[in-house]
Amino acid sequence: MSDPVLLIRDLRVTFDTPLGELHAVRGVDFDVSSGELIGVVGESGSGKSVTFLAAMGLLPPRAKVTGSVILDGEELIGANPRRLRSIRGRLMSMIFQDPLSALNPVHRIGDQISEMLQSHQKISNRDAATKSVELLDLVGIPQPGDRARQYPHEFSGGMRQRVVIAMAIANNPKVLIADEPTTALDVTVQAQILEVIQRVQEKFGTAVVLITHDLGVIARVASRVNVMYAGRNVESGIVDSLFDHPSHPYTRGLLNSLPRVGSERLEPITGFPPNMLRPPIGCGFSPRCQFSQPACDAKLPELRSFGDLQTACIRAEEIVVSGAPVR
């Protein structure tokens, strides 16, 4: 595997709130290489979005970020804001769940893509306009020349998301971060958008980080996956392996709670995620875990190798061997 183009080490994010310090991300390691599509899976409160917002430098000033985020050899944490602005949209881009939030309703689509191009490259108006149409075509918008002259409200949800993808890859970034890009879309449109992302990746070799809560989406497009819980990475590895023999109880719980063909009764994960204002000293999943032991609560478990996976469960060996049910 080639060198990682994005390397995150021990990233920690805390927020100052009236009720105290909120520990949203508590030491996350992460890497992705060119041409790879990594999935990041977690539920609400897991810190999956905050991690990458922090990497992009998009968090509000009251957020404290420590750790290291190295993009193509350059450290981003603590970097000059002007430098970060020049990187965003050029070397690293991010798209979100709601495409409307990235689109200016009073500007034409073509102009918005051109603006994206011109703010990072020396390119004439005419060339930018041509390139914009090419990009629209690349993301599968029919009659791109005509549609470039339209406004965001004239596009449907799926089309808007394609436009946003076009804007994000306009400058051929090394890394594209997609935060729940298809969650708000119909399932048939979701399939189209995932296909666009894969196509873009194949063409440009972009490293893609796909953040989602949908394990099906991960199974479809990701090659590797990270599972996050309570601000930490609890398991990671190649997609096939993780789905086939997950080692962390949370991952197992997630897979078990999905409706399956012929399932009589679903198995939810009982309990609630921990309070991130006073995060537990030990494993965050312990209160909800059927395999929990006192040792689990004593110390925060680190990610370690376990076969072809990385797991943060100290009892992984026994769990897998015990044959506890999993899909």
Binding site: P18, F272, P287
Partner: protein, 306 residues
């Protein structure tokens, strides 16, 4: 259950907490509170009667000194005492006209918003019409009309009475309140918890009283505070043109005091201008700060917790 065990925070308590965080508003409450106290205890706090001269002539246009803290006016009356009586009248006018305006505005706005249709259209066009006229012109025209309608006089009183002015200002105030309430009702109407109430068989009246009103208290309170300011300034405007409450016969108001100072500006009797105007400004500012803080405190988006 691994949740923070906090005492139940009702939306009301959360709003209070947010309000208290606005320092300007809290200071305003204190200032206004003191002012109201002074004004209520007026026979005690004022040093002279409303029409009383501070001493035998020469007593006119005396600058601020021991016998007259804020100086005297053209016929030797203590401005400090007159200010206290004047503020009282202005506050009464402000408060009551605002209450009437809000009461009427709420009902009209709620019904217009909730029912929609023809009634809503009519009400909106009427308010549009009135709000389109320059305030001053409309004020004077309505004043004449209202006064000319002799059958209304038992209710609203004589044209130069305080009561008349209260109703006159309320007449203008309700329209703004109606718009605010209507807007609020329109946005609430489509919320799912309203649909849930309908799904259970709730009547229109139940929904308005039990759901729409409590969720509109915020904007209504804000409308109330801004109506008070509007009325106080409206009264000052009326008085400035000589249409204030009966002058001379013992009633004075902030507006009358400001109007009396018209001539004094050029002659250098600054105390006649400065003190009434400062009072007007301070009162308006305080109420505005409180209104702003109320608006922030009752922001419905914050009802959803952190």
């Amino acid at each position: 259950m691994s949740e923070i065990e906090l005492p139940t925070l009702s939306p009301r308590r959360m709003a209070l907490r947010r309000f208290v965080g606005h320092k300007a508003a809290v200071a305003s409450c204190v200032v206004l509170g003191l002012l109201v106290l002074v004004v209520i205890l007026s026979p005690l706090t004022a040093r002279y009667g409303v029409n009383e001269s501070v001493r035998k002539p020469p007593n006119s246009f005396l600058p601020p000194q021991k016998i007259a803290w804020f100086g005297t006016d053209d016929i030797g009356r203590d401005i400090y005492s007159r200010l206290i009586y004047g503020i009282r009248v202005s506050l009464i006018i402000g408060l009551f006209s605002a209450i009437i305006a809000v009461a009427v505005g709420c009902v009209v706005g709620a019904v217009a918003g909730f029912r929609g249709g023809f009634f809503d259209d009519v009400v909106m066009r009427v308010t549009d019409l009135f709000l389109a006229f320059p305030f001053l012109v409309a004020l004077l025209v309505v004043r004449q009309t209202l006064g000319a309608l002799s059958w209304l006089t038992p209710l609203v009183g004589d044209m130069s009475s305080v009561r008349f002015i209260i109703f006159l200002l309320a007449f203008f105030g309700w329209m703004t309140v109606a718009r605010i309430v209507r807007g609020q009702v329109l946005s609430l109407k489509e919320r799912e918890f309203i649909e849930a109430a309908r799904a259970v068989g709730a009547s229109r009246r139940y929904i308005i009283l039990r759901h729409l009103v409590p969720n509109s208290i915020g904007p209504i309170m804000v409308a109330l505070t801004f109506s008070v300011v509007g009325a106080i300034i409206g009264e000052a405007t009326l008085a400035f043109f000589g249409y204030g409450p009966q002058a001379g016969a013992g009633t004075t108001s902030l507006g009358i005091l400001v109007q009396a100072a018209k001539g004094a500006v050029q002659s250098g009797f600054w105390w006649m201008v400065v003190f009434p105007c400062a009072a007007l400004v301070i009162i308006s500012l305080c109420i505005n700060f409180i209104g702003d803080a109320l608006r922030d405190a009752t922001d419905p988006r914050l009802d959803m917790g952190h």
